[in-house]
Each structure stands twice: as structure tokens, then as C-alpha cells.
Symmetry: C5
Subunit: 367 residues, 5 copies
Amino acid sequence: MLKHRKSLTFRRRGERGAEAGTLTAPLESVATSLNVIAYSQGQLIEKSDVTLEDIVELRGKYKVLWVNVVGYRDLHTIENIGRYFDLHGLALEDVLNGHQRPKCEEFEKNIFLISRMVELGGHIDTKQVSMFLGEDYVLTFQEFPVDCLDPVRKRIRESRGATRRNGADYLCYAILDTILDDYFPVLEEISDRLASIENHVISHPRQKHVRQLHDMKRDLLVLRRSVWPHREMINSIIREEHSLFSDSTRLYLRDGYDHTVQLMDIVEIYREVASGLSDVYISSMSAKMNDIMKVLTVIATVFMPLSFIVGLYGMNFDTKSPWNMPELSWRFGYLWSLGLMAASVAGMSWYFYRKKWIDLAWLTRRK
Amino acid sequence: MLKHRKSLTFRRRGERGAEAGTLTAPLESVATSLNVIAYSQGQLIEKSDVTLEDIVELRGKYKVLWVNVVGYRDLHTIENIGRYFDLHGLALEDVLNGHQRPKCEEFEKNIFLISRMVELGGHIDTKQVSMFLGEDYVLTFQEFPVDCLDPVRKRIRESRGATRRNGADYLCYAILDTILDDYFPVLEEISDRLASIENHVISHPRQKHVRQLHDMKRDLLVLRRSVWPHREMINSIIREEHSLFSDSTRLYLRDGYDHTVQLMDIVEIYREVASGLSDVYISSMSAKMNDIMKVLTVIATVFMPLSFIVGLYGMNFDTKSPWNMPELSWRFGYLWSLGLMAASVAGMSWYFYRKKWIDLAWLTRRK
Amino acid sequence: MLKHRKSLTFRRRGERGAEAGTLTAPLESVATSLNVIAYSQGQLIEKSDVTLEDIVELRGKYKVLWVNVVGYRDLHTIENIGRYFDLHGLALEDVLNGHQRPKCEEFEKNIFLISRMVELGGHIDTKQVSMFLGEDYVLTFQEFPVDCLDPVRKRIRESRGATRRNGADYLCYAILDTILDDYFPVLEEISDRLASIENHVISHPRQKHVRQLHDMKRDLLVLRRSVWPHREMINSIIREEHSLFSDSTRLYLRDGYDHTVQLMDIVEIYREVASGLSDVYISSMSAKMNDIMKVLTVIATVFMPLSFIVGLYGMNFDTKSPWNMPELSWRFGYLWSLGLMAASVAGMSWYFYRKKWIDLAWLTRRK
Amino acid sequence: MLKHRKSLTFRRRGERGAEAGTLTAPLESVATSLNVIAYSQGQLIEKSDVTLEDIVELRGKYKVLWVNVVGYRDLHTIENIGRYFDLHGLALEDVLNGHQRPKCEEFEKNIFLISRMVELGGHIDTKQVSMFLGEDYVLTFQEFPVDCLDPVRKRIRESRGATRRNGADYLCYAILDTILDDYFPVLEEISDRLASIENHVISHPRQKHVRQLHDMKRDLLVLRRSVWPHREMINSIIREEHSLFSDSTRLYLRDGYDHTVQLMDIVEIYREVASGLSDVYISSMSAKMNDIMKVLTVIATVFMPLSFIVGLYGMNFDTKSPWNMPELSWRFGYLWSLGLMAASVAGMSWYFYRKKWIDLAWLTRRK
Amino acid sequence: MLKHRKSLTFRRRGERGAEAGTLTAPLESVATSLNVIAYSQGQLIEKSDVTLEDIVELRGKYKVLWVNVVGYRDLHTIENIGRYFDLHGLALEDVLNGHQRPKCEEFEKNIFLISRMVELGGHIDTKQVSMFLGEDYVLTFQEFPVDCLDPVRKRIRESRGATRRNGADYLCYAILDTILDDYFPVLEEISDRLASIENHVISHPRQKHVRQLHDMKRDLLVLRRSVWPHREMINSIIREEHSLFSDSTRLYLRDGYDHTVQLMDIVEIYREVASGLSDVYISSMSAKMNDIMKVLTVIATVFMPLSFIVGLYGMNFDTKSPWNMPELSWRFGYLWSLGLMAASVAGMSWYFYRKKWIDLAWLTRRK
């Protein structure tokens, strides 16, 4: 149902007509908690449920500071963070709103990015992740605690790979890349569902497949609505000269850009396949209808003449007149009438067989 | 109905072939009245039903002067306002016309903007709001008194937020933003309606749903026709260097631009969903038709052989000949015929059951 | 019918493979006649059926000279005019051809514009008006005498408005604007027709509505084919720096451009509505078919068992055997059989009622 | 059929994976023959079946040398021509291939153009014409002898018009223009066919119209595939500064460009009309189906109750019991039963008439 | 089925959320083997199953070194090659992934190209070929041993044509060109299949054709997904100034670009034809349904009145009353009833014949 997908509904501000930049906590949000991971190539510190003061203290001591803000209930804390890190009021409003398209906006002291994590439940939906990239920090804001960023955390902890060697811009890329990486298994899931619907629609079309296709088309709309602006966002980072993104990170982003192109490609192909299946459904239905009508017509055409014949010899004309139904008193009248019927059936069958309406394979097939 | 939507009908000038720039009052317009709000950060004055002289007097004493002109019946007053504020004749003609697309045109001394307020009645429609932005004033023109700008007025009065601190360009943005803000609840309403139609179309398709979908598609066309040029208008203000718009206001407009993009996104998605539902309707109908035809065929196929058998033994052949219907005088002739019928029914049922035409679930379902 | 619309047929040159620039009079053209209106702000002279010599004499004495050439039968006159005003051979060929898209081409000494007047008959069609704009003259060429330019003539005569104050470029704009103005009532007419078809298609779909919709779609194609290049033409005049168009006239053309955008908007919306109505038609038809089939199925399902029962007791088994149809000799055998039938009807009715196939509202509705 | 249209099939090189620039004669090509027309404004020489030596001798003596090469069987000759005129190997490969899109490529010493002539047989197809334009020569290559360039030859011979006065670039334009000119009668033919299908589809839809529409859509695809790149080709010549094209010829090409735009316009409109007709066909079919089903339903609904009544009084209940079918022994029993039937027919007829299912006009119409 | 096409499924990295640049061998890959062809214009050496050391030794001694790496099981070897030739980690990751779109990326010391070979089995699929072009070498990577590059190898061996004369950039072009060349026979195969489906759909539509069309549409999507980025890739090489591509090779690439345009053209046309055939199928089905329904209706309409008449004279009214069924005791009662029936049949037949429902041609046609 339309209303159950967050990313297709939306609200703007708490109060209708409120001033731009007004912060309002979303109704169902959880209590705000701050987690921090700070690291240089050799050092690493990781703390949960810290306060802003802890963060202020950590800052500058490590090459990269990653603050993850979860839950928007405590507006005051968020405003303080905003003030400390020079976050623009309009950006913070977008963070809290939760229904923004992925985008990238440059402010004086930091870059604001919105991305969307994909969630695969009964329906596919997406959840906003907001990021601020500064010289030496990355802030991520999420409304709910569960996220898909554990692989990034693990790589930082294990001091494996490029993450620890590079700065905040690479961390920002790594987060984006991990979020996009999660779209692939979702598309594989959709691919499986499509293949399953496909098999059924062609052999046993049922009305529930129409509903499933309709839902799948909407899932694909949700995905497209999320992937497309991701692509534009990454492209704008690659093209424009943001001083906060180094050339080597931009090379990695080019790779991320390729992934968004690939995702769009697949989403579009699945949309076309799903559309095609709707047509296949209609065609199958109309073919089945033809089959049903042929059966009815053949039955009616065979039995109506028979019924006529048996009715004929059931008439009660007075057989005293030699002109009235002499067949009734023939010695072989009954056999004559049976022969008449057999001839009628044979004639009709031959005719339908010649017209290819009677399809022996179809008659005996188990369907 | 097409004619009932103002924004899909149109007129151009009062008289066919009239000169460009000719002012003609719309037929159904109300008497012209002027309301003014003038404010600096610390001062505020608000007056209703003022004359042009009052306005002239107020001008220059406050940082921002907002004149709201309602009703176009008194052409003379409007011409006077036009002359005093240096409004171009073609712009004034567009104001009175009331069927313009949202747009932004720069003149020598002011910027002319057209926006459209959304109205949610039985059908969705939009109403033109025209604005002139000058160095220290904003003029708004509306054909009818009811508008959606009260939140702006309230914010000015309460001296809350950025509106009072900023100049006329910010007021102009605030008005635009409030107008666009009103599109969101309308889209939520459409979302609800779509979800309701969706549920019905899949389970109980009725012809009225076709009509509702058709109406909804037109509602969405009306919205798209209004939102799309809003987006272009705001984009042109952001891109071009209008000296009347400050950099900070342009930052706010970037936010407004995002909202138009979001609106377009949602409108397009709803259009696709509505189109998809038309297909679902056709599919459901054809599935239902198949069900109906199966019932008819099964009934006909079961009862036609039965009717044939009972007709057969209703024939009046003279039973004096041993060849004529000997079954009639058998001791268990009647039972034999009943057995024949039972066998026929059983055979047919088994055949249809094997063909999956008889669907027990369907037969007992309450639908 | 396709062939009846001039603007969808076309010819190129009189003779197949003729040289570019070859002038050929169209077959059905009328005799060529020249009318002239010459005016400055204070002076006005208007003459019908003049010769080229009259024109040569008038030229230079007035600020603007407007020569209207009607009918292309006299090729010699047209060639002379071409030579006197330095009109390019390819342009003159386009004038005579009559099937050109609206366009604007700059030549050394004048600008060549093609516009198309709309005609509202049974079908909508468009008629070419060709114009040459020079320093101090406007030449208009039309194949047939009836045109929609009388409002322009009237404004010149009455010395009203801007036309008399401005130069030839403004006259050229005024003509274009008047031509475009005429598209609006045509679109209102289409709007009325669409609304009427819409009402019928939903309540009483008939095959003639399919034909009407098909015709309307073509009318809209004809309009789009005319309006779209008008828009491009005006846009190119606004953008490029034609020395013959003054800045103030260009401001008026911006207004004309808005009108073409609005026209395109409406044409596209009507095209979508008309397409939607085709789908509504199919949906209505399939809903009606379902209704019809339900009636047939209900009737067949109710009466076939009845016919079976009455046939059963019409069998002629010898009632001497106690096993043969004992019901026939029961005292209440007839009532028993009637009861059986009533039970069958009641059962079937209840079943169909529960399946919602029997819709009391539908049965009693007058349709 | 798809395979019968040359321009929808294709081959690349003689041998799979052959080197680019390998020349292979097409299988069904005819023997190579060279024809030459050389002219200055006052001089003209025309020779058939010449050798390369003849051409070398003629070159330089006349302003323009037009060599028409027909048939590709003699690869050696073609290679010699290529060597003498400095034709690039890849260009010659494209010449021989015969399935290229219209295009224009500039080489060091000449410009290579590919155009396609239209052929109107049962199906519409196009045939490649390749051209090389040099300083003082035009080479044309055609696979088969029949072409549409006779009007150009005639104009050269008759020394009429601009062709003789201008250089090789104008000849090149004249050839292109003549080829494009030939598309117009083909479109008129399609217009006639469409109008004819249209009339039939609405009144008497037959399955052959579906096939005809399907073929026509493909004809239009073939045309679009040829016209569109013509347009791009001419546009690129106009835009870019090829030193071989003079300014005055470029003016003529602007005219040719207009013609391609017009052709595209018409092709697109016809494609939309043809698509619309497919929908009209489906709508007509479903309307006819409704009519048929109504007839069946009315017949069944009228006769089933009648059959029931006559069956009822054909039951053999023992009339000794006063409860068993007393009607049978009534004096007016038969009349009573006839009355019952008449009432049933009247009731049903009235009901269907009120539902508008029985349409007197339809019943008596000859269809 | 969707899952069976490699190019529509995809995986990204071995481990979910793995770091960018992590190399993981695909599960089903074969053991890595290296083959090398090194040549100058006069020299040629060709070795199979060489080691990296052999390659290091050969390098620099020949103008062009072509190393073909097959099978990805031995990650260590691939990493060594990457280190020796300065291949970027992200590029190598794309090589191993195998599901990339064709693209071209420039790195410091080499250009990375991805192309896709087409495979024609039951379904059409594509297989990734990755290439690195350096100053004096071309590396090609393929997951499986079978490829379509033998024509290139043969041309090198035979010292035929331009390949031996030119450098590594030409070899790179030759490989690309040979890969693209292989798409043409695949499209011819599709053309044949389409023509065959077309013939059947119009004369004998069967449900399997719907499935075949659905599959073919997907084949065309697979092709489009591969051809389109090839085109973009080649275009970007032509446009941008890669120092590794010489001007003469760029001329050849222009030829390759034309081929991709032609491929896209054909793919798009086939997609439209396939879509059109789906509509033709539906139309044919609905025409057939009309035919079937007409037969049923005619049969029912002819026999129902007959059954009524014979039932009528089978009623058992007591003929003692002169008002009860006097026909029964008429001398020619039976003949009278037969006459009645004959009249009914004749009337109905004439009526249907006049309505054109009984189509003699159709009745006798063998279908």
C-alpha cells in the first residue's frame, strides 16, 4: 500500500507554513545518542553514548573523527552539534525531515550529503542517512539505530585496507560506497521474484500475479527514485572542484559512479521486463479465454443438435395419420434416430477438427 | 469535468484580437481592496482597505512594504498602482488574466513573478498569485480574497524567525515557499485516494474506479502543469544574477528548489502508479471474465449431456419393436439412466478438476 | 479523413524534381490582388487592388508600409514584387508552396517569417501566412482572401494603442500575436468537445466515440505541428540579435513566446486526456461485457437444471416395474418436482447473490 | 516480411572478422560501368561506359565533372578510381557495403556523403547512393542502374536554372535535394493507404487491417531510419565550415534541411496515427464482441424459460392424482401455457429494451 | 529466465561491504593461463602458457606485445601482472567482477577498456573482455578460454593488412572492431526469428509466441545494454585527446562508432517491431474470439427455437378438449411442425447472412 512506504510519503515541517530552518523532531523518533570513532593510521578510539564535550575534546587529536548521531528526539543536542560544527540551519532541517532526495550541497566550512539506505522487507523502502564532511570529521545522522555501515566500522577497527590510511573524504566515500553496495542484493532479490512471477504468468496466470507485478513496479520506482539522485550527487562531486575531496578519493568516486550507472541500468531493465509481463498476462488471459470459449462452443454445438433430435421424436403427434412421425413405428426407428445423432456428432467433430478447434494435445494435457 | 477546472481553461484578452497590454477586468472578479503590512526589524504597521495615497505615505518609512491587492473589478486603482510602482503593461495584463504559468520576468525597476496556489476541493485546481518585487516592496495580486499566506503574516506579526530581519527579497521567498508548502498536504490527500482506489481495483474492480482514476490522472496533470514551471522559475532566480535577490536569500531559494524537485518526483511517481492501476483494472476484469466464462462452460457442459439423456428416454418410439428403446421396459431402466447421468457428471467433473477449471477455493469463497 | 487536412498533406514543387527556387502557382489559387495600408503616427492611407507602381510610389512617404498579397495565380506580379523588395527565390518558393512549418529566416535585406492561421471547421486545419519584414515595410502573402487580421487593421485605423506609434517590427509582432490569439478559442472548442465525449464514454460508451477521439487526437496533432515551430520561431527572434527588431518589440515578443508555451501546454494536456479516454473506453467496454456475461451465465445456470428436471420426468420408462420412476405415480409427485425446481432456483440465486454476481441495483437500474 | 527489406537487414564485411577497409563485391551486384557528365556554364559533354582513362583526360577541362559509377562487380576498377581520386579505404568499404546510414565525413581532399533513395514497391525500402565531393568533381556510386537522378541530368543538359552556373558543391546539393524530393510522393502514398485503412477499421474491422497497419508501421520505421540521419547530415554540413561548400550553396542546403524536418514531422504524425488506429481496431472489436454477446444473451434468455415451460407440461406424472398436473386436463390448458410463454417473452423483451440492450436500429441495420 | 543470463545478474565484491579494490576470484573461474603474441612489422613470436617472467623478457623487443590472460582462479598471478604493468586496483577489481558495462577509463600509464562479446545460444548473452592499452602493449583479460578474437590473431600471423604495420592502439581497435563485428550475425539471427514469429502471430497465434516475443524483447534489452555503452566508449575515445591513440587509429574508430550507431538503430527497430507484434497478437486473439462467439451465437440462435418447437409438441395436454393442442391430431401436424422449424432456420440464416455474421469463406476455410 502506498501509505506504508516512507519514501513515497513525506512531510515537510512540523507545523504547516512554518519558517524555513525550523527544527522539529519527527514524531516517532528515538532518543538521541552519539557514537564516535576517531582514528589516525596508527591510533583508534571508539566510544558509545558520548556527549558533545567528549567530541570537542577528541577533535584535533586524530586524523579523522566520525560522529554517528542516532535518533532525533533530543533537539537541543542536535542544535548544539549544529552550532559547534557550523552546520547550516536549512541543512539540519533536511536532516530531521527524513524524506529528502539524495543530494550534495556545499557550505562554507563543510559539505552536506544526503544518501538513502535500502531496506528489504515485504516491500522495498529507503531510509535517509545525512552526512556532513569537514576537514577532519564526518558526521552521520540517522533516525533509527540499525544501519548497514558495520563493514566500514570493521575495516577501520581491523586497520585493514585504505580506510585508515586516508582522510575524512575517503571515509565519506567508504560510507557512500557501502550504502550503494547494499542495493545489489536487493536487486538480486527482485530478479528472483521477477523470474518466479514470469514462470507463473506464462503457465498459470492468476490475479495475484497482477498484484505482485504492480507491487514490484512500485518497488522499482522507489529504487529509481533513490538511485538516480545518488548518481547525480556523485557526478557533481566528481565534476566540481570541492577542495575537501582529494584527487585520489575522486578516483574512487568514479568507481562509485559506475555502480550507480549499473544500478540504474538494472532498475530500468527490470521495469521494462515487469511491464512486458503485464502484457504477457493479458495475452495469456485472452488465450485462455479463447480456449474456454472453444470448449463451450464445441459442447453447445455438439449437444444442441442432439437435443433437437431427441426432442423431435418426443413429440406427441397422433400417429394415426400416416404422415405423422412414421419413424416412431418403424422397426428400427430407434436405431435410425441413434444413427442420426451419431452422424451429427461425427460431422461436427470432423468440422471442428479441421478448423483446428479441437486440439487433442490440449484436451489430454493436464494443464 | 474539463470545463470546471480553471487552470485547464483559459482566456486571453477581454476582446478577441485586442492589443497586447490592454487591461480587462475578469467577469466574475470582486471589488478591489488594498491591504498593507509594513515592517522593519523593530517596527510593524498593518492596515486593511487602504488607498494608494496611504501606501505612498508609508513607503520609505519601513524596510519592507507588502501591499496585497485583492479583486480586480476596479481597473482604475490597479492602473494607478501600476503607474506608481512602474509596473509594465504586459505584466499587469498577465496579472489580470489569471491563467498564466508560473514564471519570473525581470523589468527595469522590479521583478515580476507569477505563482499558483493549490486548492483542494472535489477536484484539484490552482489559483494565480502575482508578485512584484522591488527594492523595498512586495506587491501581491490575487483575484479572490481567500489565500494561504496567513502563516507568513503571522510570522511577521510575531516578529519570529528570519522574516522580520531580512528584506523584501526574503519576504518574496517566504511567500513562494508558503505557497509551495501547501502542495504537500494535497499530494498526501492524493496518496490516500490512490491507496483506496488501489485496494478496490484489485479486489472488487468497479467501473467507478476507472472514472476515479481518470479524474486523478487529470488532477496530477494540473499539479504537474503548476509545479514544473515553479521549478524553472526558482531555478532561473538562483542561476541569474538578479541584483534584487541577495546571496543569503538565494541559499533559501535553493531549498525551495529542492522542494519543487521533490514535488515533481512525487507527481511523476503517482502518475505512473495511476497508469499502472488502469492496467491492473483491465487485468482484473479479464480475470473475472475468465471466471464467469468457466462457470458458464462448466454448467453447460454438465447439464447438456444430462438433458440429452433425459430427452433420449422421452422419445416416443413404438416399443412394440424389440429394437425400439428396449431400456424403457427394463426392470432397472430408470436406475440405468440415472447411473448414466451420474457417470456423465462424474466424468465431466473429474475432467474439469484435472484441468484446474473447478477451483474449490473459488467456489466456496465469498468473493 | 487524412486527405482532407491540408496541413497533413503537402506537395513540394509543381514538377517532380524541379530546380530549387522554381515558382509554381498552386492549382486552386485565386487571382492575385494587392492591398496596402501605409501609416505614420499621424497619417494613414489604405488602398485595395493596387499595382506594384502604386506601392513604389507610397514607399518612403510613411513610416510603415503594409502590403497584403492575396492569391497566387498571377506569378508574374509576385515575381515583380520579389524583385522590387529583394525577396530571395527560395523564400518565394516557400510562400507559394503553402505547406511549410512556421519558421524565421534572415536574409540580407529582410526577415522572412512563416506563420500558420488556425481554421475551425468540422476538422481543425491551419493555413499558411508568409511575411517579409523590412526596414519600413511588412509584406504578407496569403493564398485565400479570408484572414483573421481584421483586429490589427482596425487598431491601425482607429489610431488606438501602440501599433501606430511603433515601426514595422511592431506591426510584424502584432500580426503574429493576432494569429496566435486565434488558437485560444479553438482550444476552448476542443475542450468542450472533450468534456462531452468524456461524459458519454464513461456512462454510455458507443463506437462513434472511438472515432471522435481518434479525430480529436489528429486535430491535436495538427495543432501541435503548428504551435511548436511557432514557439521555436519566436524564441529564435528573441535570442538572436536581428537588427530589424527593436528591444521594446522584443519585450512584446517575450509575451508572445509565453502564449506559445501556454498553447503547447494545453495541447499536450488534451492529448494526454484524449489518450486516457481511449483507455476508459476499453475499460467501460470490458466492464459492460462482464455484466452481459453474468446475465447469460445466471440465466443459463438457473434454467439448465430446471430443464433437466422437467426432462427427467418426461422420460417414458415403463412404470410397471416399481423401480422405474415411482415418483410419477406418487400422489404429490408433481408438487415434489415443483419443489425440487424451486429449491434449485433458490440455491443458485443464493449462491450468485453471495458471489455478488446478482446485483439488485444493477438489475433494476434503467441504465 | 522483415527479411525482404534490404534496409532492415545488413551485412558488414564479406568475411567474418575481415580487416577494416577490405573491399568485397556484394553477391548480387551487376558489372561496373562508368558514366560521365562534364560541364561548364557554356560547355557540356556526356559519355556512357567510359574508362578511368577517359575520366582522367576530361578532368580539369570542365568546371564540374560528374562520374556515376554503377554496379560493384568489378572491384579492380573501383579500386583504381579510389586511388586516382584519393578516396579513403574505409569510405570505399562503406560504398560497397550498401547498408550504411546517411552520413557525411570529411577527408583530406574530398567529402564523403551517403544518402538513401526511397523505393516504393509493395513495401517501402531505401537504396544507398554514395557520393564523393571534390574541388571540381562529384562521384556517385550506386549498386543498381535505376535511379531517381534524371531530373538533375535533364537540368544540366537543358542548361536551365542554377545547376550549370554553379560548381560541384551545388551539383552535390542538387543530387541530395532530388533524392529527398522523392520521399514526398511516397509519403502521399502512405497517407492514402492510411486513410483507406482508417475508413475500414472504423466500419468493418478485419484482421487483415491489423497486418496492414503492422506493415505500415514498419514502412514508417524504414523511412524514419533514412530521413533522420539525412537531417543530421545536412545540418552538419550547414554548421561546420567545409571549405568545399560555398556560402550560397549552404543557403540552398538550409532549404534542404527544412525539407528533412518536414519529412520527419510527417513521418512522426503518421506513426502516431497508425498507432492510434491499432487502438481503434481493438476498441471496435470489443464493441462488436459486446454486440454479439448481447444477441446470444437475449436469445438464450428468451428461449430458456420457454423451453422450461414446454418441458414442464411434457412431464408424465400420473394424472389420476388430482394434485398431479391438473393443467393438463383443463379445457384451456394449452392456451394457458401459450399465454405463460407469451408473458415470459414480453417481460424479457421489455426488460432488455429498458436496459437498452435491444437496439432496434442495430437489429434492422444491414451492418 | 532472468537468472540464466549472466549480464542481467551481477555481483559486486566477494564479501558484502568489502573494501573497494579488493580482488576476489569468481567462484566458477578456470585456472589462470597467459598467452602472448609479440610482433613488429617483420617479426612475430607467439607463445602459450607463459609466465610473467617470459613476458618481462619479451617486452621492449617487439613493437607490440599482446598478452591474453584467461581464467581468474590464480589471483596471485593477476596481482603480479597488475603490479608489473601499473594497473590500478579498482580497474583490476572491475576485470574480475565480470558484470561491468563497456567503458573506457584513462589512468596515468595506460587506458582501461571494458568491452562485451556477444554469445548466441538459446538466449543471447554477453561476456566481458577487459583490456589495458599501454605504449607498447595490449593486455586482454577473459574469464573463459573461448573467444571471438581468432580473426585478429590470424591477421597478425599472416602479416596481412594494417595490423602488423600499426602499433598497440591499432591492435586495441582491431580487437574492439572484431568484437562488435560479432553482433551483426546475432542481429540477423534475431531478424530471422522475428520474421518467423511474425508469420505465425498473424495466421496462427499461439501462446508460445507470446513467450517467444517476451524472450526476444529481453534479448534485445541485453543487446542494447551492451551496445549503447560501447558507443559511448568509442565516442569518448574519438573526442578526447588520449595520447595513446594516434590520429589514424582514431579515423578507424570513427568507422567503429558508425557500426555501433547502426547496431543501436537496428536494435531499436527490432524492439519496436517486437512491441508491435504483441499488439498484433492481442488483435488476432480478439478477432478469433469474435469468430468463436459468432459460431456459438449462430448455433444457439438456430437451435434454441427448434428445441422450443419440438418441446411444444411434446406437451401432454389432454387432447380431449378441442382447445388443447389440436395440431397433434391434424393429419399433417408433423409436417406442419417440420415446416415451422424450416422457416425458423431459414429466417435466422437469412438474418445472420445479412448481418455478415455468416461468412461462407470462413465456414469453408481450413484455418
